[in-house]
């Protein structure tokens, strides 16, 4: 992504020199704190060169092992093989594949039609339908950017044609698309579950209620703004039209039942459910909706493999990194420090939120979860925070991080669709971003929102 395209000026050499000097000084200061400081300073320095996060993680670990420890190098070699030798992780490629089939297969379009027929006649019309459609698509797809692409590339042009300001539409879809990782299935949740050995099924269930609440809150914000500004509404759909739209989108909606029902009833493990939904999505896209010609299938497979391989590569290297962390007892030391200083749960969660939001400024969600979850999780456990609640909290933080610059993935996707600059988009998403922050506070301090459903279902 070149800076010029985003409308950011390059710095003058003098200013850049000052910045670099400042950063170097800060990193040296951190590395004087001891082994741990050195690890983090090295990691940050490598990442700032712009090299892939996975490579920075791996190089940090190798440097550390070669210079500062006596860990046998064979242990590292073995970790490189066994790091992703885990059937749970394999849910990620399957969910990515399923999501790609759904995006290309006309499922999103039918969901939009259904959502429009249900809520299109209220204030905000198509925009409100966009929120609902994003929530529905999120329930079959595990990724946020994919949700923005699937819903946004169809809905945004239609909204502009109806007379909505471009900003308004972009704001709605960018933030609603973030529901993709909160409403199950969710790739970020699978990654959290793998990093902390919690149950994927329970996490998925825990995401349902927060997902519905956030969708409602985003919907209310949308409705209010549309009502204030008098944006266009759609004619009310008759019940016959609604039933028809529902029946047409039923094949896509059935996937919700397959994934959630299958996991809850124990028919499938989450990974198997992911594989089933990939095959199901393929059948729906190619043979039922016929929106995806058979000759384009290899391309979809290749793209999914590309995306999955990138994530799996980060995971391998992050496993190495967290192996190093545990070997050096870092989470333990941090936990003891926090408990000795009597930082309460409230303060700890506040610090976690700020830390995650800051990390969300520079990294994408999977890397953040992989690097920070193994460090923060043991501390949270010592403070008696429920692992599932902590997972949902991290997921919501990641959602917020995806919608604000400089590396909000959703922003980039939306900017690709709307051809708007990142700065303009940032202003556009503000009302909804604020709503999300309110929701974040709610989720952080009211554990019942996340824990009620899995408890009621007896999964905790």
């Amino acid at each position: 992504m070149s800076a010029d395209a985003l409308g950011w000026a390059r710095m003058t050499p003098v200013r850049a020199g000052r910045w670099l000097a400042g950063i170097v000084a800060a990193l040296i200061a951190i590395s004087l704190l001891g082994k741990v400081g050195f690890v983090f300073a090295l990691l940050i320095a490598l990442m700032l060169t712009g090299m892939p996060v996975s490579i920075s993680l791996g190089l940090t670990v190798l440097t550390f092992l070669f210079t500062l420890t006596t860990v046998p190098i064979e242990a590292v070699a073995l970790k490189l093989f066994t790091g992703i030798e885990n059937f749970e992780i394999m849910a990620i490629p399957f969910f990515i594949l399923a999501g790609n089939f759904l995006t290309h297969g006309g499922v999103a379009r039918r969901m939009i039609d259904f959502a429009t027929s249900m809520v299109g006649h209220w204030y905000g019309g198509l925009a409100l339908a966009g929120v609902l459609a994003c929530a529905l698509f999120a329930a079959v797809s595990g990724s946020s950017p994919a949700t923005v692409v699937a819903i946004g590339s169809i809905l945004l042009p239609a909204m502009v044609k109806q007379g909505f300001p471009k900003r308004f539409g972009a704001g709605v879809i960018t933030t609603s698309g973030a529901l993709g990782i909160l409403i199950p299935p969710s790739i970020v949740m699978v990654i959290y579950a793998v990093a902390t050995s919690t149950s994927v099924g329970a996490l998925f269930m825990a995401g349902v209620i927060p997902g519905i609440i956030l969708a409602t809150m985003l919907g209310i914000t949308t409705w209010y703004r549309a009502w204030r500004n008098g944006y266009p509404r759609m004619p009310r759909a008759t019940w016959a039209q609604r039933v028809r739209a529902f029946r047409r989108s039923m094949w896509g909606l059935a996937l919700i039942a397959i994934v959630m029902g299958g996991i809850y009833s124990g028919i499938f493990t989450p990974t198997e459910a992911a594989a089933m939904s990939a095959v199901y999505a393929f059948v729906v896209a190619v043979f039922i909706y016929k929106d995806l010609p058979l000759r384009r299938v290899p391309k979809v497979l290749l793209d999914s493999a590309n995306m999955s391989a990138m994530l799996l590569y980060i995971i391998t290297n992050a496993v190495l990194f967290s192996f190093l962390m545990t070997h050096e007892n870092i989470p333990q030391v941090m936990a003891d420090w926090i408990i000795n200083h009597q930082l309460g749960v409230v303060l700890f969660l506040l610090v976690v939120n700020v830390l995650l939001l800051l990390a969300g400024n520079v990294m994408e969600p999977s890397s953040i979860v992989l690097i920070l979850a193994p460090i923060l999780f043991p501390v949270a456990m010592k403070l008696g925070i429920n692992p599932i609640h902590f997972g949902i909290l991290m997921t919501v933080n990641m959602e917020v991080g995806m919608c604000h610059p400089p590396v909000g993935l959703n922003l980039y996707v939306a900017s690709g669709i709307t051809k708007m600059g990142i700065t303009e988009l940032t202003v556009a998403v503000l009302p909804w971003l604020f709503t999300m922050l309110v929701f974040l506070v709610l989720v952080t301090y009211v554990p019942a929102i996340s824990l009620w459903l899995p408890r009621a279902l007896g999964m905790l």
């Binding site: 060169t49 394999m90 095959v279 690709g416």
Partner: protein, 208 residues
């Protein structure tokens, strides 16, 4: 070179597709063999699918290693580019080259580590055995629990994938040094989406 490109694409496409089918068939088999249909049930029970999970994991590991190399070519490996993009042009070029050099270095190291590991965990024995050389008291190396394949063959994914990735990083660095272009992955671009919504709208970038 073209052959290598296509081979790489072909391998990962096949692996993800085949792994999906295998798990699908294994799950269907598990439930279908519970159905009391005479004849069919006996036949289904006689089939053994316990190896499906293991095979799927191995296929995905191979896909991940080769896909990571393919990903270098398509520019999908994301980094933190906030700082680099704001530095003066000539500086950021040096930073990006340093980043790519890091990639070359890391993948070369990992490839070599992996190679040593594979060699010591069975390949040494297997090669000597196949050539009829007396292998002395070399251990035979472990085998996978369900498939009973020697694990060194499975683990070859790491050295092979890493060396290929190393090659791809060098290739990208070379191109960047010469022409100043990096491969760029565009997530927002979806083929055939939204196209039939706006058939009459002018296509962007078409100057005719």
């Amino acid at each position: 070179m073209k052959v290598l490109d296509h081979l790489e694409e072909w391998i990962i496409t096949f692996l993800i597709g085949a792994a999906t089918l295998i798990i699908f068939v294994a799950v269907i088999h598990r439930y279908a063999s519970g159905l009391p249909i005479p004849g069919l049930q006996d036949w289904l029970i006689s089939l053994n699918f316990t190896w499906a999970q293991e095979l799927c994991i191995y296929m995905f590991i191979w896909m991940a290693k080769f896909g990571a190399a393919y990903g270098v070519r398509t520019g999908i490996h994301v980094g933190v580019d906030v700082l680099v993009n704001r530095l003066p042009e000539t500086w950021s070029k040096k930073f990006i080259l340093a980043g790519l050099a890091g990639g070359v270095l890391f993948t070369a190291l990992v490839g070599t580590l992996g190679w040593v590991f594979v060699w010591e965990n069975g390949m040494h024995y297997a090669v000597y055995h196949a050539l009829g050389i007396d292998s002395g008291d070399l251990p035979e190396g472990p085998t996978a629990p369900d498939l009973e394949w020697p694990t060194w063959i499975v683990y070859c994914a790491v050295p092979l994938g890493s060396y290929l990735m190393c090659f791809r990083f060098s290739q990208v660095a070379w191109h960047f040094a010469k022409r100043g272009e990096l491969p760029h992955h565009d997530i927002a671009y979806v083929e055939g989406l939204g196209a039939d919504e706006d058939v009459l709208a002018p296509r962007g970038g078409d100057a005719r």
